[in-house]
């Protein structure tokens, strides 16, 4: 048997991590020193050091993954999160299955974003590159040190390593978990680029349109990863947790939503700063907040400090370190902001009715949403700290907060995209948009009536704002292309990206409205042969049996799904018992179409052949995530826009 203990791979991995740390320290010092002294050759070190740091981080991560694949249980982290029976893809995803490995993945991604900045910044002035990479290096130094000091994933259990590992938490043994955390992390970490650009601009005192233009594609790229990551997380929770819920407002989800909301605000604020040179201080502040919330999301939540105070008490070293690190990172950047942000009011003038105002209100709404999530997440903790007792803030509260804010935001989005910079007239906008408004109301009422006899107010509202958003956006496209379809492509990739992203928001709202108002479910006791009806569907419980998986055995139930007497699908739901930990997981059986999901999950075995079963029909479930795909596609188109590169070249010539 191959043994990594003999090859010393974990030690090499740790050594690579230490080398990466040294590289990061150099990446902080040398370029910044060069900027101070005006020495170009010192600034020039920023790029190769960023590449070198990333290289060693990748080596370190690959070696940890190798220890997993080769079942080296002498590595404590491998022993705690893997098992010889675990299928290989899960052995690899187990690398980020717990705290230590997630942290290593996080710093590696930070390194890779650094490489991206180093390679794609040819048109940037060298002193700016040096500052940006130096700031990213500071973040790296902090978190690599944190990894090495408190959360070393390469620590060994010697001299007597366990024979086998404790296995990966079965919840995490799933395709969703292979892709979801890395995507989300790419988003979190990507916001460090926008953060670094903002701080670099503050340091140099050049908070100008050029800075905003450089920041925009990076912010958008990080935002795309966040959007996809959040959608993947929701999809994973939906099919893997066995409840059919797709958003739980739990601290981990909230932690990913907050940076997304602030990053969305940042995207829009950057647009104003680039086009009109306004809101500079505000934009910088948003960039700092977005990254701070990412840090809060990844570390406080992941390490359990946010969810339970006891986690902090039981591991004070890690807790103190992370709080200190957050304090330095956030406090330091806010101090720099306080000292260096421009105090002179922006020169640009704008009216109350203008795109600037629309985007300002958009920012305000998004930030209030983020604050609401933050309040709901921290409130139980603060309450507990004060010794007032334990409580939880229920989903109902978050919904109460989000519905009015989303309605306001969607109404504004329809108008905002069409409003002119500087100054516009209500009468002009009204003239363009009244048809869209009337159509949206009529459509919403008609559709709601078709769906059910009694008009459901929240359905009309949800559909109304979605239709409004779609129609208003289409009206704008129509207007701009002067009614000729052939002209649409020439409107510009980033404009069309915005159109698609906004339509995506509408699609998600439609999905959320439909699935929360028209989902039906039923918990029943069923024996083989029994047929249950739910909505338009008949569920026939045909048989129960067992299935042997690679590292689990499952009890399974098979169903024939009928609609109008026709057998449309055979579905198999499972309840898996994983050998290593003896833990049980529910695998739901889901039949998917664009317009509805049929969801079957197994409850407990009752006496005889009977099973408690949960049957659900969820209309338009897929639209919730489809909207997110639209949004990220829109973002992708905006990043592709050549405008950013072309203008940068011009500037270089000038």
């Amino acid at each position: 048997m191959l043994n990594t203990a003999m090859l010393h791979l974990p030690e090499i991995g740790q050594f690579a991590l230490i080398l990466a740390f040294i590289m990061a320290v150099l990446q902080v010092i040398i370029p910044l020193f060069g900027v101070n002294r005006g020495q170009l050759w010192l600034m020039g070190y920023a790029r190769p050091l960023a590449v070198g740091q990333a290289l060693f981080l990748v080596i370190s991560l690959v070696l940890l993954a190798t220890s997993f694949v080769m079942d080296d249980f002498s590595v404590a982290y491998v022993a705690a999160n893997s098992n010889s029976l675990l299928p290989t893809p899960y052995k690899i995803s187990a690398v980020w299955g717990a705290h230590e490995g997630s942290l290593l993945l996080w710093v590696t991604m930070l390194g890779l974003w650094g490489v991206a900045v180093a390679l794609l910044s040819r048109s940037l002035p060298l002193d700016m590159v040096a500052r940006v990479l130096s700031i990213m290096g500071m973040v790296s130094v902090g978190f690599i040190l944190f990894t090495l000091e408190t959360s070393n994933p390469f620590a060994r259990i010697l001299p007597s390593p366990p024979q086998d590992g404790a296995d990966l938490n079965p919840l995490l043994q799933d395709f969703g978990l292979i892709v979801h955390p890395p995507t989300l992390y790419m988003g979190y970490v990507g916001l460090s680029v926008a953060f670094a650009f903002a701080l670099a601009a503050l340091m140099s005192g050049r908070l100008d349109a050029a800075w905003a233009r450089w920041s925009r594609p990076w912010t958008t790229a990080a935002w795309i990863f966040l959007t996809v990551g959040i959608a993947l997380g929701s999809w994973w929770a939906y099919y893997e947790l066995g409840w059919g819920g797709w958003w739980f407002w739990d601290p981990v989800e909230n932690a990913s939503l907050m940076p997304w909301l602030v990053a969305t605000a940042l995207l829009h604020s950057l647009a104003v700063t680039e086009k009109r040179g306004l809101f500079k201080s505000w934009t910088v502040l948003l960039a700092i907040f977005a990254f701070s919330l990412s840090l809060l999301g990844t570390f406080l939540v992941r390490s359990g400090v946010l969810t339970s105070v006891h986690a902090f008490a039981s591991d004070p070293e890690r807790g103190v370190f992370i709080l200190a690190l957050l304090g330095i990172c956030v406090g330091g950047s806010l101090l720099l902001y306080a000292l260096k942000a421009p105090t002179v009011a922006s020169v640009g003038r704008y009216d109350v009715v203008s795109r600037e105002t629309a985007l300002l209100v958009n920012n305000l709404l998004l930030v209030v949403m983020a604050l609401a999530v933050l309040t709901g997440t921290l409130y139980p903790l603060v309450y507990d700290f004060m010794g007032l007792g334990k409580l939880s803030v229920g989903a109902a509260w978050f919904n109460t907060m989000f519905v009015p804010l989303t309605v306001a935001l969607a109404l504004l989005m329809g108008v905002g995209a069409m409003t002119r910079w500087k100054s516009d007239r209500v009468s002009r906008l009204g003239g363009q948009l009244w048809i869209a408004g009337v159509l949206a109301i009529v459509f919403a009422i008609v559709v709601a009536l078709l769906l059910s006899e009694a008009v459901n107010g929240s359905v009309v509202l949800g559909l109304g704002i979605s239709f409004w958003l779609i129609f208003a956006t289409c009206a704008d496209v129509w207007k701009k292309s002067r009614g000729r379809l052939g002209k649409i492509p020439s409107l510009g990739v980033s404009y069309l990206g915005m159109v698609i992203a906004h339509v995506g928001v509408a699609v998600t709202i439609i999905g959320v409205t439909m699935v929360s108002n028209y989902s039906i479910d039923k918990s029943v006791r069923m024996v083989p042969g029994q047929v249950e009806t739910l909505g338009d569907y008949q569920f026939e419980f045909t048989e129960a049996g067992t299935i042997d998986g690679p590292n689990y055995t499952s009890q399974a139930t098979r169903f024939n799904l009928y609609k109008e007497g026709k057998n449309i699908e055979v579905l198999t739901a499972e309840k898996r018992r994983y050998h290593a930990r003896g833990s049980v997981m529910t695998e739901a059986a889901i039949d998917v179409t664009l317009f509805r999901d049929v969801y079957i999950s197994m409850g407990e075995a009752l006496e005889g052949d009977a099973w408690g079963m949960r049957l659900q029909v969820k209309p338009y479930m897929r639209w919730v995530w489809l909207g997110a795909i639209f949004m990220s596609l829109g973002g992708f188109m905006a990043v592709l826009d050549k405008r950013y590169r072309r203008r940068q070249k011009k500037e270089k010539l000038a």
């Binding site: 109350v352 209100v361 609401a372 229920g394 509260w397 804010l405 833990s583 009752l606």
Partner: protein, 157 residues
Amino acid sequence: MHPQRKKRLHLILFLVLAVASAVGLAMYSLSQNINLFQTPTQIANGEVPPGRTIRAGGLVVEGSVERDQQGLGVTFRVTDGQSEVPVFYDGILPDLFREGQGIVALGEVNTEGLFVASEVLAKHDENYMPPEVQAALEQAHQDGKAQMEAAAKEASY
């Protein structure tokens, strides 16, 4: 005042008003929507008014789980080591629901002192004890000790 300035002042006033109302809405609904965690002892002592949605939790008492013959209804008792509270739940229990396991339930106490749960949570990690349950056990433990000590003191006088 300059008309431009005036317009902007109106805008700022409007925004402040909007934020204030959002905060007001938040605070109001926060007071309506928080679910306090109550220990079995608090419920048994009648400290929880019936009909109020709360979270309760503790260990499921061994041998207390009884199922309906027909549907999915189930009754069991939860304890914090000091008092027990009967719980009724109609629905699918989570995978890790087991006798002796720590659970948290969302629901309300009815007039007969039965806790009617609308949701039962047991975490997916067997190593993990819901923090509220942990605290409840600790509290009951300390109270129990204090009572015993007080009783011992009295006896010795």
